[in-house]
């Protein structure tokens, strides 16, 4: 879904979200309360610059708008794969964005992530996945790595990876898998504004994803193993 259509469905005309290049930001109104909207479009690669742009928006919300909710709109091809970004510490910039989002949560801002198109690991870990909860549109895709690169690193053939990506929940990029595993809280369908309203209402404070993964059957061991360490 195009971000303009998405924001239209979420907020009608009650928002000023715009795109600066691939960087999305703005403020929206929902039920009389303002919401910070920040994210990316065009399957943007997230490099140092983009991570800092997004962090700036979160910091401004922290500094200027106590209690204001934050909506992270995720559409990314993952981290920017450039030597310059590595040199300049892209992992640190991403950690910084993640820490900003995390502090916002702790200071009472509800943070909701929404994968509305694509999410690939590096671009996703410190945005959608560090929110109170992450949601997705039905047609969205979440991947760890594209198959050709994955084949090179794992030495598993592209053909085998393609098969696994069709049938195997651990590999398949469809968001229903992520819901089953607990990584995504739910898929948004129908009235998206109502989905957002509900998400803000029941945003969890603790990380419930391993619990959800066990309950839904997509990730059977994570919660049990963590609990076992606590009991050891």
């Amino acid at each position: 879904m195009q971000w303009q259509v998405l924001t239209g469905q979420l907020f009608g005309a009650a928002h000023d979200v715009k795109a600066d290049g691939d960087f999305l930001h703005g403020t929206a109104q929902l039920d009389g309360a303002a919401i910070t909207v920040v994210g990316s479009t065009n399957h943007a690669p997230v490099g140092v610059a983009m991570a800092l742009q997004q962090a700036r928006v979160v910091l401004d919300t922290l500094a200027l708008h106590p209690g204001r909710a934050i909506l992270l709109l995720v559409d990314t091809q993952g981290q920017q794969l450039r030597r310059r970004d590595e040199l300049l510490g892209i992992n640190r910039a991403m950690a910084h964005l993640g820490c900003c989002v995390d502090l916002a949560r702790r200071q009472g801002h509800r943070v909701i992530g929404l994968v509305y198109d694509q999410a690939l690991s590096g671009g996703f870990i410190t945005s959608g996945l560090i929110a109170d909860a992450c949601y997705a549109l039905p047609e969205a895709e979440i991947r760890v790595m594209r198959i050709p690169a994955m084949a090179r690193v794992t030495k598993i053939s592209e053909a085998r990876l393609a098969d696994l990506s069709r049938d195997n929940p651990v590999f398949a990029p469809g968001v229903q898998n992520y819901v089953a595993m607990g990584g995504v809280r739910a898929v948004w369908t129908g009235d998206l504004q109502d989905c957002l309203r509900q998400a803000l209402r029941d945003a969890p404070r603790e990380d419930e994803r391993a619990h959800d993964g066990a309950l839904r059957g997509g990730r059977r061991l994570a919660q049990a193993v963590a609990e076992r360490v606590l009991a050891a």
Binding site: V48, A49, L52, A55, L59, L62, L81, R82, R83, D85, E86, L87, L88, G89, I90, N91, R92, M94, A95, H96, G98, C99, C100, D102, L103, R106, S121, G122, F124, I125, T126, L129, I130, I142, V144, M145, P148, A149, M150, R152, V153, P169, V170, F171, Y178, M181, G183, D207, R209, A210, G213, R219, L221, A222, A224, V225, A226, R228, V229, L230
Partner: protein
């Protein structure tokens, strides 16, 4: 005269046992409990009894600490469902038991690709749990010095810690040079050029740019001393600290010279004799830091 033992050449278990006070390490979910990956057999990959991470508690200079070590030789130290859950449980336990510090001997390529989606969620859960420990005022110390470095999602997790210790042989980054070369060609990043790889992601560069707090030799005694010194390095994350971090990173981005040459960047930082850095030992590089 004591013999120097290379941290890089030790296994995860050897590092951990040599780091902490002798005979004080107690392991949780040890190998005999066979808490292993449910996802590897389908790919014809053998499991490890501890799924590549050792977790437990120990004393360090007499202080009770929690300690964990990732085994880089198993699946590149990649984080899978069980590996990640062990770390999450370990950190949740720290919130309950309140050790003096939580120490992670990190060696990882990030998400274990063989467990794809489960690994990605696991890394995210590790990150959340680490930030919970920090928010509770318990220092989180990450030690990096293995041959595989600390990459991917773990490269992000490392920078969420209070205190990062690296040896000059260690590496800390997001994407591996091979992935960058595969995507944008050898002119972008020649993954076989070791000197280039270390100038871009190695301990000396990270130290000079402030992306790690301590630079040491590849030596077990040095890691132990740095770990002990790190016990007092807790620092709360606050709006003020994040604003300062933001300023630092934004300034660095704005002031960085064109291109991706580490030496030019160090010169811009004000490091004297920047071109010599690759040939200097850790002690000499420590003397040059200006950030």
């Amino acid at each position: 005269m004591s013999i120097s033992i290379s941290y890089a050449e030790c296994s995860a278990r050897e590092r951990l046992n040599r780091l902490v006070d002798p005979a004080t390490f107690h392991e949780w979910l040890p190998p005999a409990q066979r808490v292993m990956s449910p996802h590897l057999a389908q790919l014809g990959v053998p499991c490890a009894f501890d799924d590549g991470v050792v977790i437990g508690r120990a004393n360090l200079a007499g202080e009770p600490v929690f300690v964990a070590a990732q085994e880089g030789a198993f699946m590149g130290g990649g984080v899978g469902e069980v590996h990640g859950a062990k770390l999450v449980g370990w950190m949740r336990r720290a919130l309950r038991d309140r050790p003096a510090a939580v120490l992670l001997l990190a060696e990882s390529g990030g998400v274990r690709l063989h467990e794809a989606n489960a690994g990605l969620i696991a890394v995210s859960e590790v990150m959340r749990a680490l930030l919970d420990v920090r928010a509770a005022g318990i220092p989180v110390i990450v030690l990096i010095g293995g041959a595989n470095g600390c990459f991917g999602g773990m490269g992000i997790v490392a920078r969420c810690a209070d205190h990062v210790v690296m040896s000059d042989s260690g590496r800390l980054a997001m994407s591996g040079p091979e992935v960058i070369e595969a995507t944008h060609g050898v002119e972008e990043f020649d993954a076989r050029d070791r000197a280039l790889v270390w100038r871009t992601t190695g301990g000396k560069h990270r130290y000079l740019s402030g992306d790690c707090d301590v630079l040491i030799d590849d030596d077990m005694q040095a890691f132990r001393a740095a770990a002990i010194a790190g016990l007092t390095r807790a620092s709360a994350i606050s709006l003020g600290s994040l604003e300062a971090e933001h300023r630092l990173l934004a300034d660095r981005l704005r002031n960085a010279p064109e291109g991706a040459d580490a030496i030019a960047l160090w010169q811009q930082f004000g490091v004297a004799d920047a071109a010599q850095v690759p040939d200097l030992d850790a002690a000499a590089v420590r003397a040059l830091r200006v950030v």
